[in-house]
């Protein structure tokens, strides 16, 4: 079967669209099952966590990156390597706090909401992409970094950009090799 060169790109796009459409169907089903937005958000976060703890293996196997030496390196790794690899976008990273453990990933293009125009009126506080937060949290936990990940801004709720905030929680024992 002869294929034009453009077809390969299209096939990649369609693979990604499969994921996006499946995610949309999942959120729709959860909205039918649970009445409260908080329950749906919690469920998405939990599912994301389970995915994250497995995804990290796949990520490390594919990317073969070395150990990150600082929180900002980790945040950059997530934005520039992981997001690019799995979602095809590269969010920009900014550091929010003087202590150097709060970061923001700013996404101006979020592929997960490609087919979503707006949230329905009765679901105003739904965090549509909450799965992403769970994935990041789960993946970080598997490399022994505890973090809290939440959405700070969401384009679907009317903000200008989508912003994910990652707060690294310090472990009880101090991190060695800090310079």
């Amino acid at each position: 079967m002869s294929r034009s060169p453009g077809r390969k790109q299209e096939n990649h796009k369609i693979s990604r669209e499969l994921f996006v459409l499946t995610y949309g169907a999942l959120v729709a089903q959860l909205c039918k099952d649970y009445e409260k937005d908080e329950d749906v958000n919690a469920c998405l976060d939990r599912m994301g966590y389970s995915i994250g703890i497995r995804l990290i293996d796949d990520f490390l196997a594919r990317s073969a990156v070395k150990k990150c030496r600082s929180y900002s390196e980790t945040a950059n790794m997530i934005a520039q390597v992981a997001f690019k690899m799995y979602l095809g976008v590269t969010p920009s990273v900014s550091c929010n706090s003087a202590t150097g453990n709060e970061f923001s990933l700013i996404l101006d293009k979020n592929p997960l909401v490609d087919f979503v125009e707006e949230l329905p009126a009765e679901r105003a506080s739904l965090c549509y992409c909450n799965l992403l937060c769970g994935v990041i949290r789960g993946a970080l936990e598997m490399v022994h970094l505890a973090a809290e990940v939440t959405f700070l801004q969401d384009r679907l709720k009317g903000d200008a950009v989508t912003e994910i905030g990652i707060t690294f929680l310090r472990k009880p024992e101090d991190r060695k090799h800090r310079r």
């Binding site: 369609i14 994921f19 999942l26 729709a28 089903q29 099952d33 389970s50 796949d58």
Partner: protein, 158 residues
């Protein structure tokens, strides 16, 4: 491609999550398969629209089934259907000897009783795809030895 891993993980998490919720909640186990199938239906409808935007019109039913077996399956599962059989009277059997969603689970008879849960979404996917191509059908799946499985498509004549 990395997207595969994401979809595989999302799919297995969906199945696990739905069944876990059913156990803790009202215990309506039969509904889970229906929910998964209807999710697959919706995704199949959307996907086939995106996919067949630029392709030529299909000549007949068999042509559509061949498209599903070759192009559609390759894009979604990175391989073609291994065997397509039909009785030329509206029943098609698609056989996949190494179904992507089952390869990670086992190679043989272990976990056989859990396999149907992981096939429901794909049955819906096929049914949704066919529905948007104008074919009404019923799709079922059976597994006798992982990771090979068969999808049976029964075309409903209106």
């Amino acid at each position: 491609m990395a997207d595969e891993a994401l979809f595989l993980l999302l799919h297995s998490e969906m199945v696990a999550g739905l069944y876990r919720a059913a156990e803790q909640g009202e215990g309506e186990n039969g509904r889970c398969t229906t929910k998964l199938e209807s999710m697959g239906f919706r995704v199949g409808q959307g996907l086939i629209e995106r996919f067949t935007k630029d392709t030529a019109r299909f000549k007949d039913e068999l042509d559509i089934m061949k498209f599903i077996c070759k192009d559609f399956w390759t894009t979604v599962f990175k391989k073609q259907i291994d065997n397509l059989r039909t009785n030329h009277q509206g029943i098609y059997v698609l056989q996949d000897n190494k179904f992507r969603l089952l390869t990670q689970m086992s190679a043989g008879k272990q976990y056989l009783e859990h396999a149907p849960k992981y096939l429901a979404f794909t049955c819906g996917l096929i049914r949704g795809g066919l529905s948007n191509l104008g074919i009404k059908s019923i799709v079922t799946a059976e597994v006798s030895s992982m990771p090979a499985c068969k999808f049976q498509v029964m075309i409903q004549k209106l």
